[in-house]
Amino acid sequence: MSQKYLTADKSRRSLLGSLSDTNLLMSITIIVFFAMYLFAVFALGSGFQKAQTFFNILNANAALIILSCGMTLVMITGGIDISVGGMAALVSMCSAVYLDMHSGSVIGAMLISLGIGLAFGLVQGYLIAYLDIQPFIVTLAGMFFARGMTTIVNTKPFNVQNEAFVKLKETRIIIPGLGSYNKRGEYIDAYIEIGVIVALIVVAALFVFLKWTKTGRNFYAVGGNKQSALMLGINVKRTTFLAYLMCGILGGIGGFVYFMHVGSGSATHAAGAEMNAIASSIIGGTMLTGGVGNIIGTLFGVLSLALIQNIVSSIGLDQAWWTGITNASMLCIFLIVQSVIIARRKKANLSSSRPAEVKGAKK
């Protein structure tokens, strides 16, 4: 090996190699997010300077954050779950019907939501982990089942009138000191909804789970290489099952948070939420092939998607179709970036010379 090759190898390694795949992809997203936000604040002005604009993004996307977290879990194990959007719609509709037509309690509605999520998680997890059926097919069927069931439960969309629920829905948590003045000069407090608190708790809990529990690390191992994980003494089937189970439960929670935000039941609720969740996870640095991903990245993935939609609409492209096109382009770009990164890493590993690497590692 020539000296020239050695140094070239070393410099590339210190750039790319010092970061793990997870951190590299996540850093890209976080940087992109802040760059976009700065751009928005300085170039687009007024709206983005208010703290409430940011909180509104959170309020509107709390449910999506929770759903995306579930998606990230299964994607880390190398799977996918596209039933989360349908689940959210079914959960909203069931809760709405229970609250209004059966005059049920809010707690009861929450339990129903969790129960639906649990049921989906159990069935889908069993089919995928223990019967070894393709996750995409199983959850595609799950999505259509959920959407169909939503219509069967109740056809017409309606707003929930239940007092206890409306009170809960309209609870606003005031953030002191970050309010702003409206056109008439009145001070308006900045606020977030309860759903945001739930979402942040979920993010924190899952972050801890993935980072500091053995089960969480097993998720990564299974996604990294199923066969190896088995050889390393991990119960692969149980781990996979658990991922879908957790995703199902999070689908239930996310569905309820969505319901708290919109306060109505409808078969068209959360349309395309699964695609947004997948896109958010991918943008947040979760690799489709599994084994790479981070909850914090997912959080920023959701925020980036929401932010870019806000930016697109505030620069005048406010027609409905821009949402779909921006989402898809973001997804496409990040997918290709991932694909290229994987290919380059593979190549680098194959061609790198042994002595050069040992030296690089030792330095």
Binding site: R13, G17, S20, D21, T22, K211, W212, T213, K214, T215, G216, R217, N218, Y220, A221, G223, G224, N225, Q227, S228, A229, L230, M231, L232, G233, I234, N235, G291, V292, R345, N349, L350, S352, R354, E357, V358, K359, A361, K362
Partner: protein, 504 residues
Amino acid sequence: MQDRSLLEMRGINKSFPGVMALRNVDFTLREGEIHALMGENGAGKSTLIKVLTGVHIKDSGDIFIKGHNVPVHIHSPQEAQNLGISTVYQEISLCPNLSVAENIFIGRGKGATVNWREMNRKADELLSSLDIGVKANQQLASCSIAVQQMVAIARAVDMECSVLILDEPTSSLDESEVAKLFKLMRDLKARGVGIIFVTHFLDQVYEVCDRITVLRDGQLVGEYEIEKLPRVQLVSKMLGKELDDMADIKNDSPSFNETKNEIVYEAENLCSSEGIKPFNFRIRKGEVNGFTGLLGSGRSECVRAIFGADKVTSGTVWVDGKQVNISKPIDAMKNGIAYLAEDRKRDGIVGDLSVRDNIILALQVKKGFFRPFSKAQATKFADEYIKLLDIKTASVNTPIKSLSGGNQQKVILGRWLLTHPKYLILDEPTRGIDVGTKVDIQKLVLKLASEGMSITFISSETDEMLRTCSRLLVMRDRKLVGELKGDQLTQNTIMNTIAGGEQN
């Protein structure tokens, strides 16, 4: 169970659909010994190890482990770990997306949480004690294959095991790393750990091992102390020929006049991405030659480079005296080269397709997209080769996967003969098939050669090579190390060349 035994396996049987992988195999490992498990490809070494580590479940037989009064049943790698058996596999069985430290500690120990600082500290200690130059928090994928292998070894060593299995750990290590590994093995041996060592490198066996168990065709050949089994004898036991018998084999290799016929294929400095050293090669019309060498010596990689099956990185190639560019299989096919691949299941058959489609596939691709054979024409071709090669199949419509191994191989052979190649490469055409078919194939090779086809023949069975080839190219450690012809074509010279030129 004997006093000093750590592990005893008695009468182990294991079959896979269509194959009896292990037949009544015994194996004993004693305290503080390094025990080599030897055998050619398909001998059952890997299967035996996977039975021991719970990856495969044995069909019958008993496994005794020291400290357990009754035979143990191992159903998963986790259970094997708990019994004190730790393993380093041939293919690296670690997760590339995790850090080095995690790969050492995942799936082990009690408790539900991960203490990163403690884990990294322990891992760093372990790595430095083994003199492995990586940091514990580095991502495994960013390490070289050799370092990854050392990490796998570190994990296995750290597990407080009584039995350590090393399944070809050295294939990706360089000399200094191998030396490190051997020092480690001797240390462990001194502590009373029993080590099962699988390798294809004979030097290494004689450097560290105390005892050798040889397997062949899924059966136990015998257990030997290292001093009592000279190198050439070991090779002969692995290949299944007693040295005494070998003297008796008449050298009836076909006479072939080197210079009379024109050169069909010639390559200079040919090299592929699969890590072989550049080599020169040529073959004349009607010649049968062969690549020989132990498994992993690079014999398959050479012919794959000739056919363009792997990425060709350098070399100049002439076919019939004209310089040509062969970078992918279709180029080779258009130049009249055919290649029957080593791994029939992975590279040979198209399992769900019928015998007919499997036979016409290569010729069809060569003929072109818009000129399909009619069903009648295809059936005619298929019937012709079914008859010619005596393929036993219910009909031409039978899916190839339901045929026996030997008949599958004949179908693939028929596929390539149908393209009427000038130059046919056969990589292990006789592996895992019955004796009758083996003889058929050898006869066919000689017949084809007498009709003017050039053939390169690779086989793990030396007598097959001797019977068919007029010239043998010997590979060792991915390098072409010798060429034998004429009087040199005897079992003894071949074995000596393979073993490294040392006489017993």
